[in-house]
Symmetry: C2
Subunit: 171 residues, 2 copies
C-alpha cells in the first residue's frame, strides 16, 4: 500500500488561514489533486476538511471512497461512497487494503496529516507551493512528535508561480 | 534599497526545531546564504539567531555589518562591524541606506522575519527547502498579521534533495 499526502501550501507551509480559508489554492493545483486522488480511488480527510468540503460543495468527492476521520459522531447521509470512522490512521489503511485499494490518498488537514506522519504511514508527499505567504493560519502538520527525512523525487511548475514538490519519505 | 530574506526551511516551513536547532540546513544552502549576504554586505538577525550564531561560532559573520535586533540589552564586544539595536525594522533599513548599502539581508529568525513582512519591507525571499519534515519547531514567520502575494522568480536544485525557491514580494 502506497500512502500519499497531497496538499496545497503557502510558501511558509500553511494550508489555510485562521478562518480555515484555503482559497489561495490555484486551479492548477486542484487539477493535480483530482488526478491523483481519482487514481487512488479514495480520499481521506479530517473533520474540519470534511466540513469545509461540505461548505464549498466538493463533498463527497466524486469517483472515490471518501473516508472521514472524526472523533465526533457524524451521520452518514451520503451512502456507500462515504466511510466515517473514529478509528486510527493504521486502521484506515488496513481497511483500505481489505477493500482492495493499493494506494491511499490523504487530503488533510494538519491534524490528520500529523497523525499519519507520526505513525510512519506516509510514503509520498506532494506539496503544491502557492505564491502567497501569510502570518497566521493552519500549519501543514499540526504540532506533533515526529521527524522524517525526505527524498526529493521531483519538482515541476504547475503554472508560472506555483511549483509542485514531490517527496518520498525515507523509512 | 532591496531587502532580501534568505533562510533554510524544512519542507513544512519550519526554520528550526523546538530546541532552536537548525542543523538540518545543508552545506549547499549555507554556500548560497554566504554568497548573497556578502553581496549585500550586511546581515540582520534577531536575538535568538544571534545567540545561536554565538554558540556555533559563526558570529560575527565575516565581510558584513552584523545587525542584531534585540529589545534586551546586549553589550557590543565585537566593534564596528556589529550594530546592536532595539529600533524598528524601518529604522534598520533607513540606517543601512544612510550607511550606503543598496541591499539588506535578513537572516531570521521567525520574529524578525514577520516584523519586516508586516511592515511591507521585504522585496525578495529565498527559501532553501531542505529534505526533512518535523512536527514541532520554529515557523518561518512568527504568527503575525500580514498577507502578501508572491511571484516565483525561479527555482533551482542546490543538490539532489534541496531545492531553492526564489520569490519576489508583490507590492
Amino acid at each position: 500500500m502506497k500512502v500519499i499526502l497531497y496538499i496545497g501550501v503557502t510558501a511558509n507551509g500553511l494550508i489555510a488561514g485562521e478562518d480555515d480559508n484555503a482559497s489561495f489554492v490555484e486551479v492548477d493545483s486542484w487539477k493535480g489533486f483530482e488526478k491523483i486522488y481519482k487514481k487512488a480511488g479514495n480520499i481521506i480527510m479530517g473533520r474540519r476538511t470534511f466540513g469545509l468540503s461540505i461548505v464549498d460543495g466538493t463533498f463527497p468527492y466524486q469517483d472515490a471512497l471518501n473516508v472521514v476521520m472524526s472523533h465526533k459522531k457524524i451521520k452518514n447521509e451520503w451512502g456507500e461512497n462515504v466511510l466515517i470512522t473514529d478509528q486510527s490512521p493504521r486502521w484506515v489503511i488496513t481497511k483500505l487494503e481489505e477493500l482492495g485499494f493499493s494506494e491511499a490518498f490523504i487530503a488533510g488537514g494538519g491534524i490528520v496529516n500529523s497523525a499519519f506522519m507520526k505513525e510512519g504511514l506516509i510514503d509520498e508527499i506532494y506539496l503544491d507551493v502557492e505564491p502567497i505567504a501569510f502570518g497566521k493560519g493552519v500549519p501543514l502538520f499540526a504540532p506533533d512528535d515526529f521527524e522524517v527525512n525526505l527524498e526529493l523525487i521531483g519538482s515541476k511548475n504547475l503554472n508560472s508561480n506555483t511549483i509542485q514538490l514531490h517527496y518520498a519519505v525515507k523509512k
